[in-house]
Amino acid sequence: MNKKFNDLLHKYFLDCISDEEFKEFSSMLEENPQLRQKYLEHTMLDAGIRSHSNEGMEVVNIKEKRNPFIWIAAVAAMLLCIPAYFIFSQPAKIAVIKSSEYAGWESSQSTLLGAELESGILDLKTGVATLAFKSGADLTLEAPAKVELISDMEIKVISGSISMHVRESAQGFRVNTPNGYAIDHGTRFSVSISEDKKSADFKVQEGKISLHHDSGEVKHLSDEEASKMNVDSLVAIEDSQHEGFLNQEPNSHILSSIGNENTVIVNNDTGRVNKSFLMVKNQKRSDAVNRRALFAFKLDKLDLSKIKNARLSLNSIPTGLGEVVTMPTESTFQLYGIPDGLDEHWEKTGFLKWAAAPKIENALPLGSFKISRAKLRSKVFIESEELLNFIQFDQSSEVGFILVCTTPGGTMVHGFASSLNTEASGPRLVLKMNKD
């Protein structure tokens, strides 16, 4: 019992205890006062070792040194009520943001150009950025990429692609990935984590790295060589051009709704709709100029029973109508399926009156998505059980959809590219079929 407690105790103080182990540790502490005494002894031990290691780093323990300059600084700190120990033991800064190209980050630390970074997780959402580590290594990230900075000689790549330039002073730099790590021996190399986050591709442009798989397998890579680190092993990549390959998708049909698109507006003002856009609007103040979009795809000659996957894609683009700032930060859109029968007889090319359009009340909800007012240019994908079923059970060789906005907002008119838009492509329905 004591050996187990001792084990957990060390894991706790060395910061490598799992959640399960912590639960066990806590209950042992709650039940046994003697174990609590042991715990307190170790807390004091931890504190003691910590302060001795800080002295080793030339951090001043005010009680023991009498340097007047430090004393004055400490008084100043006190007036701001910062414990003197605190001003000397800041978390270490390990890297600096060296360059930033259209970079958009999600991080709890400042990510301005020149910002100094501590250990922690950084998530690059857009653009490309380079970090310079204090040790002499440079890390370039291409969005979307997520890395954990561990120290000035170690990182973990969680997702996405990065490239490293490691100078002599930083040799030994370690890059961790899902199944193992790479140690750099003076190079330029890149690491790319697969979409399922289960494997990593390493490519050396110049220099040498060694790959260490969790299973113990080790491999050395030099100039122009590449290797993949899978769940079970290291596999050589025979792609001397380092381009990668695109998967060709056999057995898929891509349908367009061209010729079957329309926007309806409550007050039937034709001047307010435009064939380049599928417009949607839900205004809080008054519904006079509210709009809905309709579009349909023809399914002639397709064997619906063979469809295994269906995905609808739309391109959200700004219409330029109304004001973005009057909108809530995010709006939710709902896609409905128009049922077979009379509802499908709507005007597909000319003017369609609001009252003549298929009603939501009769339609099937198939899925929803959100669009941020700050990011009106974005691709929308809808893929759901309901969408797949709706298509598979169609009897009329036509599947039609209604798109509405369910978030009441301000004056802005939401837009999605229609098939007649010159800037972006219109609605697409991609159907993947089972092989015969």
């Binding site: 290691s53 414990p83 000035d152």
Partner: protein, 170 residues
Amino acid sequence: MNEGDFLKLFLKHENALRVFARSILPSWRNVDDVLQEACIVMWEKLDQLDSEEGFFPWGKTIIRFKCMNLMQKKKNERLVFSENLMNLIADDAEKIDENEYAWRQQAIGSCLKNLSEEDQSLVMAPYLNHGSVKVLASKQSVSVNSLYKKLGRLRDRLLHCVNSKRALQT
């Protein structure tokens, strides 16, 4: 009492107050937060204090309160003890005499010198840089796990050394 006097008094007891806080909180970073807040409260409520001798027990009460407050907000995070356990630990920790903290600190210093230089670096590694133990492991070409086990044994040795010195004292 002026700021200078308060500073001296606070710094005299700061280390012991930090250790007290650490026994209740999950990490040293939380200790920094609590000490900072508690310090402000102590300065503001200084008139409550009767004498210098009473500073440490009074400080502990303020710190205990701030710890429980902070942990209430963080109760869904990892490695947070239950409120009951925190109270049990705080009750036990309050009984520790202040001199005990300072004495142990010194004893640890001399016990550390009993270790080889290599072992000393290993023992200090977890406090230097997040991830230092991993760097050491790769430099020595051993697994991180085995280093952690060795660390555990070294810490036990240190505690044993400190406790023996303690026994000799009484």
